[in-house]
């Protein structure tokens, strides 16, 4: 039997890699899901672009784009057409190969994240048993693309942005991972599908602090306000993609929104019980939650200013990291000693713990100042 045999069912050989009830062979499944994921990601990214502009518009007491199509829904399409027809500029003294490769390197890993995301029960490309680990690992690869872009642009703003990006990613990866671990401990599995299944109570209630840490760290990972340092438009113009134009810029723009989508999806899966929900079909629940998470991200963006680079680092190391460690410790203890019969009591206990910890840390933690004697 060849590996390319359409009838091959790999799950028989590698139990756990494929949802058991999924019909058809491995390769059909693979092909179908690649198309689904691509369509899903691109459509959702476009929807997000539109939604963000409309929402930010309303937050700012204006309308947002409403000219192209009904309610302006075709605005991203119009933007895409416009951007495709723009001249592709490569800086004369830039590193051309790296410059060319950077958008690709940034874009591919973001797409790959969606391979392990369950859209509804069992509907996912690969039910990896290390799903969440895979997500954390693969999503940080795209920063290489960002750094390549910043380096090869031969632009000081780009370089500053890229340097900020790398240091920020390295710092925030740790609290991010630790806050995910809390969920994993509760669910007892790394597979995203199993994590969703384990959520009889959404983990946001069991892990309120972990949720906050994850949101903060994820916002930093995907460069959203208040941590959007690497493309801080009021400081370093556009950061790493200052020099990019045309389709290459479009790819970076797409990466940005795909990353937001990825984070919304992961948050939905890890903390909001994924596709679970009463009455409505699971896929709809999934989408509603994803859009809800995205709206919150946009809401934050429309409100808060940006932290400074050293403050961002301090926030990661001095605030998020210890809190995440404590959270993990508490979760571990709870899982070990707490009786199974009283899950709702944990909710209130953990909320109380969160409040106490945040109050405590507000006393310890200091931001601001930061003048360097030169």
């Amino acid at each position: 039997m060849s590996l390319f045999d359409p009838g091959l069912n790999l799950s028989a050989y590698y139990p756990g890699t494929l949802p058991p009830e999924w019909p058809g062979g491995y390769w059909i499944h693979w092909g179908v899901f690649v198309v689904i994921i691509l369509a899903f990601v691109l459509l959702m990214a476009m929807g997000f672009i539109w939604l963000e502009r409309r929402e930010v518009g309303r937050f700012q007491a204006r309308l947002g784009p409403n000219r192209v199509g009904p309610f302006g829904v075709l605005q991203p399409v119009a933007d895409a057409i416009k951007i495709l027809t723009k001249e592709d500029i490569i800086p004369a003294k830039g590193d051309k190969l790296v410059y060319w490769l950077a958008p690709v390197v940034a874009f591919v890993p973001v797409l790959m994240v969606f391979a392990v995301v369950p859209f509804q029960d069992g509907a996912l490309l690969a039910d990896l048993n290390i799903g969440i680990l895979y997500v954390v690992a693969i999503s940080s690869v795209s920063i290489v693309g960002v750094f390549m872009a910043g380096w090869s642009s031969n632009n000081k703003y780009s370089l500053l942005g890229a340097m900020r990006a790398v240091s920020q990613l390295v710092s925030y990866e740790i609290p991010l991972g630790l806050s995910i671990l809390g969920v994993v401990v509760l669910a007892g599995s790394l597979s995203l599908n199993s994590i969703v299944e384990a959520q009889h109570i959404p983990f946001i209630l069991l892990q309120p602090l972990g949720f906050l840490i994850y949101m903060a760290a994820a916002a930093a990972e995907i460069n959203r306000t208040p941590f959007d340092l690497l493309e801080a438009d009021s400081e370093i113009v556009a950061g790493f993609h200052t020099e990019y134009s045309g389709m290459k810029f479009a790819l970076f723009y797409l990466v940005e929104y795909c990353e937001v989508l990825a984070v919304s999806v992961i948050v939905t899966t890890l903390f909001l019980a994924g596709w679970k929900g009463p009455l409505l079909p699971p896929l709809l629940w999934f989408l509603i939650k994803v859009f809800g998470v995205f709206t919150v991200i946009v809401w934050v963006r429309a409100t808060v200013p940006r932290l400074r680079v050293d403050q961002v680092m301090a926030f990661a190391w001095k605030c998020l990291l210890p809190l995440a460690l404590i959270n993990l410790l508490i979760t571990g203890i709870q899982v070990l000693v707490w009786p199974e019969v009283l899950p709702w009591a944990v909710v209130f206990l953990n909320l109380a713990i969160m409040v106490v910890l945040i109050l405590l840390w507000s006393k310890f933690f200091k931001l601001g100042g930061g003048r360097v004697e030169v």
Partner: protein
């Protein structure tokens, strides 16, 4: 700076933005929705009253930019005949000093605001182009009689408030 307020400040700010989500947006959909400009608007372009003008050239003297050119000749009744009255709107800064200084109320600011041109030479207006037409209406700037006939200005103040 400690986080003395435990993120309460951020939360308060987010409430403000949330409140705006349910407020009426202030955007005006321009080509479809038009606001009435002020009755005294100093818009495009100057309007000249051929009958009232005596050719005294006070307007040309008061123009800080030198955008008005008047050529007159001596008429039969010992008056001026205006041979050329030319305004270069490209130089005009719409300060309204010419209209204010006109002793015979023969010059008006325009009421319009949509008279963009593609060529610079079209900005130079001669006698015929300066007359009142359907497209060019006088504004009430320094002309109280005209002002009384114009509709009141739409104000943003009336369109939305704190409580909506």
């Amino acid at each position: 700076m400690k986080f003395e307020r435990y993120g309460a400040g951020i939360a308060k700010g987010m409430l403000v933005t949330l409140k705006h989500l349910f407020r009426h947006p202030v955007t005006t959909q321009y080509p479809e929705e038009r606001l009435t400009v002020s009755r005294r608007t100093r818009g495009n372009e100057l309007i000249w009253d051929r009958e009232r003008c005596t050719g005294c050239a006070t307007c040309a003297k008061s123009c800080p930019q030198g955008a008005i050119r008047i050529v007159t000749s001596r008429g039969e009744e010992n008056d001026y005949i205006v041979e050329e009255f030319r305004v270069d709107s490209g130089y005009c800064i719409f300060c309204g000093l010419c209209v204010e200084s006109c002793p015979y109320e023969a010059l008006f600011m325009g009421y319009g605001y949509e008279r963009a041109r593609y060529r610079r030479r079209e900005l130079v207006l001669n006698k015929e182009e300066l007359l009142v037409s359907e497209k060019k209406q006088p504004s009430g700037y320094a002309r109280p009689k005209v002002e009384a006939t114009l509709p009141p200005q739409t104000l943003l103040l009336d369109r939305n408030g704190v409580k909506k």
